[in-house]
Symmetry: C2
Subunit: 621 residues, 2 copies
Amino acid sequence: MGFIDVLFGRPLASSEDEGQRITPLQGIPTFGLDALSSAAYGPEAALTILLPLGLLGVQYIVPLTAAIIALLVIVYFSYRQTIAAYPMGGGSYTVARENLGAGAGVLAGAALMIDYLLNVAVGISAGIGALVSAVPSLQPHTLAMCLAVLVLLTIVNLRGVKEAGSAFEAPTYLFVGTLAVVIAIGLYKVVVSGGHPVAVVPPLRQGSAALQAAGLWILLKAFASGCTALTGVEAVSNGVQAFKKPVVPAARATLTAIIAILILLLGGIAVLVRYYEITATVPGQPGYDSVLSMLTAAVTGKGIFYDVTMFSVLLVLCLSANTSFADFPRLCRIMARDDYLPHSLALRGRRLVYSEGIWALAILAGLLLILFQGVTDRLIPLFAVGAFMAFTLSQAGMVGHWRRTAAGFEAAHGMLINGLGALATGITVMVIVVAKFAEGAWVVVLLLPAVVVFMKSVRRHYEKVAAETVVKGRIVLSPRNIVPPIVIVPVERWSAATAKALRFAMTLSPDVQAVHVACEADESLPAWQWEEDPPAGMRVPKLVTLPSPYRLVVHPIVDYVLKVEKENAGRTIAVVIATIVEKHWYHYFLHNQRGQMLTALLLLGGDKRINIVNVPWYLKA
Amino acid sequence: MGFIDVLFGRPLASSEDEGQRITPLQGIPTFGLDALSSAAYGPEAALTILLPLGLLGVQYIVPLTAAIIALLVIVYFSYRQTIAAYPMGGGSYTVARENLGAGAGVLAGAALMIDYLLNVAVGISAGIGALVSAVPSLQPHTLAMCLAVLVLLTIVNLRGVKEAGSAFEAPTYLFVGTLAVVIAIGLYKVVVSGGHPVAVVPPLRQGSAALQAAGLWILLKAFASGCTALTGVEAVSNGVQAFKKPVVPAARATLTAIIAILILLLGGIAVLVRYYEITATVPGQPGYDSVLSMLTAAVTGKGIFYDVTMFSVLLVLCLSANTSFADFPRLCRIMARDDYLPHSLALRGRRLVYSEGIWALAILAGLLLILFQGVTDRLIPLFAVGAFMAFTLSQAGMVGHWRRTAAGFEAAHGMLINGLGALATGITVMVIVVAKFAEGAWVVVLLLPAVVVFMKSVRRHYEKVAAETVVKGRIVLSPRNIVPPIVIVPVERWSAATAKALRFAMTLSPDVQAVHVACEADESLPAWQWEEDPPAGMRVPKLVTLPSPYRLVVHPIVDYVLKVEKENAGRTIAVVIATIVEKHWYHYFLHNQRGQMLTALLLLGGDKRINIVNVPWYLKA
């Protein structure tokens, strides 16, 4: 059981080991990484939208950030309640499904999956964006570096990292600490200079010099982009059981700390951007420099401190992608257990992680990064829709929860707070969809129903299968007429492997046939010899030779087996196939293809009485 | 057996059906398509190299073409002899392997494979190039159209087209006929105008206006590019047995006709290009127009005749890619039978074609087209090396053939002609490699040894396996101590499928255990009931429940099976797995993943006594 289970807290792991429960101080890096890291890309995303306004644009960042912080406070109170109501862990899928029904649950699950997927892409590309800001000569290699980080994260997660906790603490507190220092020094300089600080390294000026008045439209779009700063806030409510008991106060304290730090970071960045007059630069183009990079350079210059700050940003952004790697496969597992996804997503791989979910996430995120050439900004419109839709459904579910489980003041109070949260995030979803529709939100609007339809059809299939194979009560066995099968052993030529298969076949039934396909007219398989004469009356294997004028090998065997099946109504057939087990995986394509083809054709063509037996032969080479 | 077998004539098919043998007149489209179609891209390739020389460049096309025709004549006489010496079909791999040893054979096979692969890419992209010349607005969609043709060819070949012969005759003769008309009218106009014909539609003039003197280097490069006109000449020698008896004169007549037509086309095009002063345009760029297109427009104008001519060029070029689709999988099969490639390449798919070879070819050609953005010209340096290397090895093999099998004048005569062929094509290989090294021939120079090393390592692996599993003499069976296996049936829950598996298990052995993994502490699988009481002394199945505190399902079963194996030294184990057979292939990922994982883990962890039995359950849903 990897420590990563505890990191992103699921009851499964945490209930097993009381000693691994965490304090609020440990909880901040564990659950706050994703939320705090979004301080690095939220303001940048809003400023990028304000770019056409030139210097005038930065005037709007303070009121916009105030609106975002207000939304954050509403969401905060809302999630405080979720923590108390679902101390066992209240993911959006669970809360929506229990309170709003299966449809809402699937919608929340689908929205969350899209969110997690985009979080990987946004986190990695923002991290690499920070690196490119620091070392501009790396700019042409943006995509390659993004994919390298993705591969690294995938490998680490597939291996199932243990004890990664301390690895998360250092970068988180370094990130928060350095940014706090930048903000403190910056604010001091702003105050001392009477609102006109002089930048140590003047920020770049890209974008049109011509100022244009800000329309409501561009402000809405900037707000919609800036809202990505809220993503990751739900993480604490998912993992309440990871905390030391009593869990609810500990989890709430952690949430409070995370939100407080996030508000300080967002507010501080907004004010400094305003007074240092920092405009965004165009991502993915030469000369690109991230807002945090320009801000840090303006406040402290490009010394050692700048390097440390940028390194911590890079680290935290890339690690924030790791949240998805821990959560996405788990969500897949929960939904697979509810039959909404293929059951194989609920299987643990060899390193006790849900490998298939990790693979799925890695492949999809890789495709996204390639499609968007590794540039965050273009992904952000896609990102926020899924996250806020999951928020909304979770809050709305909480409203249902209070109506179902509480009464009087408690119900009214709960419904009010969560209702306000649902309303605020719901409106935000609509703002984002409308403001960002043309820029990419339409992808999510189309994708979401498609994912939901897919999940529901998977469920329907499993339901049909269950109805078809259901056994009511106990199964019935008959002690009579237990007739051994007719065993057929296809033999291309005698080898240690086919001899082993024939010997095993003889232990299954007295009716054994070794079947050989003769491609040449005069070809025949030499018969075996007996160690000693078989006793009289013993049924010994037959050797059957099938002619094959067209030199086909597999089809004559299939035809023969089907003929035997037809001629022996009521008998079962066992086809014993000698299977080569390779020592090296890359030898896979060198063996057994014929056996697999035979298996496939027999299963497709058979009349339900043909069974396949694989007798392995282990290669040493 | 598809007619395509006869089309590209291999003894396998032709020996089966005397009635499907073809006459020389049918042989020209069947075997000449690839060779004749190269008249459409050979001159163009040479002219593209001459582009920097401007109008002066077209002066050199006539002597260059004369050199290429001389090479063609040498190769012609050389292949006439191969036909006589290998009436059963003498592919380069076969001839080189029989006469020069396995190493040379593998080298020829690898070169041929690269050649076939490139032929697909060059044929398709040249065909689409012709289309883009006719309809310039399609130019931005070059790559997409190339891939569409590739997909079409792949599907057609995977389905196993029958009776495609007549489909090939019409376009071939249309192509030869229209080009002959263009050449005849053009030459007439040249003569009438006293060497200064007036173009109906003046050809485009791209490239630098500044004339520069032709160095030897640029002429060598143009020659190397123009040599692609020779590719496909070997096809007749591969399929001698497809002809009506006596095969050798018929095949030789076909070869003579193909070479004669090709010489007329190449010579005619060269003279007309010279007098109409047609320079190439840059492929893959707006305004691109193929040489044949400009030539036809110059001679006949852009009327209906132009359209018909361009359509026939398009058709013939795309169909020439089909030659590879017929030959590549067959070469794969021959080499797989000799252990140089995975044996699965020698297996026929459901439509009786070598599907894996077709898939391999299609995927590789698709990657090439994408990599080179669907533009022929960039592929040509890669193309000619493989083809001419196979030529050289085949001719050199023939020299060895004469030395081994003939004497006196016959041997001297044969060795002289094939030796001259080997020398000429060998020198050409070197010219191409040197002249085109920087432009892409280096890829083949690196790729070829890599392919050879791969093939040899595959062979080495198969040899090791054979040594490991070889049975000397007859296999020995013992009539005593035939002990049934211990049969273990993992049961997640009772269903029609698991009940069927248990019932089948009971027919294999009296030692049957149904094994259930209990994830919850109080969980247990209900036991079965007996239709009637089992007779006294009958061994009935046991129900084993395995606890799983970590809720793992697969691993406890694996551990249990391994424990049973260990505790019962000398006994064999059969693990019976209920396997769901889906009705629709796209349900594949919904079922059996746990069974497959169990199988993989048991085969990896087992001590050679564990066998796997699949009992299928057929879904109706």
